[in-house]
Structures are given as structure tokens and as C-alpha cells.
Symmetry: C2
Subunit: 236 residues, 2 copies
């Protein structure tokens, strides 16, 4: 218990210093480790590390209230709203996700100052600028916030946004909720950049190997249950 | 000229043998090299190579007539159709893509037998099964084809589909059109899997370094202009 609090504290310190941390959800969910950084510190080298050492999808994680303010929908909701017009969406309904009830995917965006949108420079720009926007729209009304969003970003793009559940860890304990909660506990802009870590055997990197990577690279390795416990304490 | 035809022939042979080829578009477009394989041969190791040696987005490329048959929309069209209901989409209109007039992105899919959808095993399954579906729906009516599609796949997912322009290389010469044209010339199922190659300097891998990679790995390196020339000859 004491050890777990200490680990959370080092993770928050590392996040505040712009370092990566590793977050494993849990055995009964995805059983997957994500390599994560606070988006305000996302640099081209961060994207390079995520794609080389992670290898999964490089994505943004944002709180529900920011999505609300920007009028960013869950893609699954948008699809089911328009499936009369696009019947293929009715056929493709994601009603059989093995580890959860709902996909947290929203739109894919690029910052308008990117070129292709996919280079390390471009992806880090999109992420950093999204974190900056999040700070800028604080206290601004929704309509204006959406306009500010559109002035800087376009969609479709190359950075998928995942929206955290409204009640965070009391509702869902996916990576998006785990990381947004950590960033809030750390007093950081609550926008995270992450990538799933893949193994050489075609599967997700095993927990043992992910811990080894953390050790080798001086990174904190957290498990979902530690974050949930700290979050409950913190939000009391 | 003779050399360029020879290179096209080796590329087609390699594609038929399930090998990767490299395709560079051209200086005045993205200036980007994609590492590409025919999707019918996409194995977990292919995804590993693409994410480790490519590093960009791992995506599917499909012909316009297949998209039509499956009723797969361009995402940009879907978005502009529903932007009265989702005003944020109006703000995010991608009317300023520097290298083209239109994004070729369609939906993101996962095969329903995947778990997270992002592992090498999962992504290769989604790609291979999509190529198989393409063969199965030949001669089948659109409504049934869409149902067959939905029975096997869900969206949102982790594999972005890019749809080639209707008139292929006489209309647009992006990677999607270049690769779909090559697969057609090679008599293969015209569904390709590819990934943009990234450099260590934050930018797309330079043409010189991409050529070096091709040399080191015994892969054919093609340029857009060679493919366009061969395609014109072939479609006469």
C-alpha cells in the first residue's frame, strides 16, 4: 500500500517533468501496457519513442468535459445517429467488443499547420496544440470554443481522440480514464498522449516484458488498480 | 524506360509472392515512401515490419468500386452530410490539405474476431479478411455485400481504410491509387496494406534513405511516375 502510493507520486513527478510512464490496465480487461506522456510535453522524439518502442496506435486521451465543450462526439454515437442515411454503419455496429461495452473513439484530427499529418513533427504538433487549446478554452463558452478548435484543427486526420467516461474511474477503467485521472491528480493539463506496447510474438507486450522495459529505461510502471486506489483517495 | 518496365515487373512479381515493395509518390506531392504488401498476404510479421521499419499509420487501400459495393463512404463526405447535427464537423472541415484536394479516408474497422484490434495478430487478421471479403462479394448484389461486410467487421476500429479515386491514376496519384493500380496490373486482389516510412529527424524518411532501405532488404523501390507510365500502357 505504502509502496503503491510512492509509485504514484514518482509517476506524477515524472509526468510533470515531461517523462514517459507505463500504465498496465489489468488482467481481466485488455491486459495491455500503454506508454504515456502528458501531451503538453509531446515532442517529435516522443512520437518516435512511442512508435518504435510502443508500436500500437498513437492517440490522444481527453476528459469528458473537454469533449463536451468542443462538441466532440463519440464516433459510435455519431455513427448510430446517421445510420439511416449510411446503412453500412448499422451493419458495422460495434456491439461485440470483448473487453468493454463501448468504444471511446472520437474524431481523428490534424493541426492545420501540419503537412501530411503523420510525421513525428506533425503528430507531436497536433498533440501539443490540442493540450494548449484545452487551456485556452477554460472559462470560454462552448460555441466559441468549438470555433477556436476548428480554426486550428481539421478532421479527418491522423490523431485519434479517445474521450474518457464522464465519471472517470468510477465508471470505466480503460487507459483513457486511468491516464486522464493521473494527469488531473498531477495538476497537469488533462490531455494525454499514449501508445499500446506490442510484443514480437504478434500479441500485446507481456506484463513481464513491459516491466523489464520500464526498468531498463528508468520509467515508472503503474497498474490500473494502483491508480484507481489513489484516485479514490484523491477525489474524496 | 526499359529499366523502369523491368522494375515494375519485379515489383509485380514480389507482390504476387507476398513480399513488400516501397512506393514513393513524388516530390511535388507528399514526398513520402510507403512500405506496401498485398493485403491477402498480410501476416503478423508484416504488421511488425510496417510498424518498426515504417512507423506511420498502418492502413488499407481499396478500389472505388469495392467501396461502392460495400457502401463505404469517404469520411469527409459523411461528415459534411451530418454537420448540421454535429456543428463541430463544420468547423473542422479539411479544406486546407496542402498536398491534395480531398482526404481519401473512409471508416476505421476491426474484424469481429479480433480482441483489442491493435496487436500484430489482430491487425493482420482484419487486413487479410478484408481482402478475402473482396473476393467473396464479386458478383454479389450490394445489399448482401454490405451485410456480409457487417457480419465480419465492426467500426470504429483500428484499421483505416483509404478509398482510391474512381478513375485511379487519371484522377489522383496518391499512394492509394498507385498501389491499387499495381495490384490490378499484377492480377492480385486489389486491396493493399501500407505504412508511411518515417525518418529519425522527425520528418518522412528521405528518398535517399528509403532507397538505401530497399537495397539493404532486397526490395523493389518504385516511383509514382513509373507506375503512372506502366498503368497508362496497361489500361490502353
Amino acid at each position: 500500500m505504502g509502496e503503491s502510493i510512492e509509485k504514484i507520486d514518482s509517476a506524477l513527478l515524472d509526468l510533470r517533468n515531461g517523462k514517459f510512464i507505463l500504465v498496465y490496465d489489468n488482467e481481466s480487461r485488455e491486459g495491455e501496457t500503454d506508454i504515456v506522456i502528458a501531451s503538453e510535453f509531446a515532442a517529435p522524439e516522443s512520437i518516435r519513442t512511442m512508435r518504435k518502442d510502443g508500436g500500437g496506435l498513437i492517440f490522444l486521451m481527453i476528459p469528458n468535459e473537454i469533449a463536451n465543450k468542443l462538441k466532440l462526439p463519440f464516433l459510435a454515437d455519431l455513427f448510430s445517429d446517421v445510420d439511416a442515411r449510411y446503412p453500412v454503419l448499422k451493419e458495422l455496429i460495434p456491439n461485440d467488443i470483448p473487453y468493454d461495452t463501448k468504444s471511446s473513439f472520437s474524431l481523428y484530427i490534424n493541426h492545420r499547420n501540419t503537412f501530411t499529418g503523420i510525421t513525428d513533427i506533425d503528430r507531436s504538433l497536433t498533440m501539443r496544440k490540442f493540450a494548449e487549446l484545452t487551456k485556452k478554452i477554460d472559462g470560454i463558452d462552448d460555441g466559441l470554443a468549438t470555433k477556436m478548435f476548428g480554426k486550428e484543427f481539421r478532421s479527418p486526420g491522423h490523431i485519434p481522440i479517445c474521450i474518457a467516461a464522464k465519471n472517470l474511474l468510477s465508471e470505466r477503467a480503460g487507459h483513457t480514464e486511468l491516464i486522464v485521472s493521473l494527469l488531473k491528480m498531477g495538476g497537469l493539463t488533462p490531455v494525454g498522449s499514449g501508445c499500446e506496447m506490442m510484443g514480437d510474438d504478434g500479441k500485446a507486450l507481456s506484463k513481464i516484458k513491459a516491466k523489464q522495459y520500464a526498468n531498463d529505461n528508468g520509467l515508472v510502471f503503474l497498474e490500473g488498480k494502483d491508480i484507481v486506489r489513489a484516485w479514490k483517495q484523491w477525489s474524496k
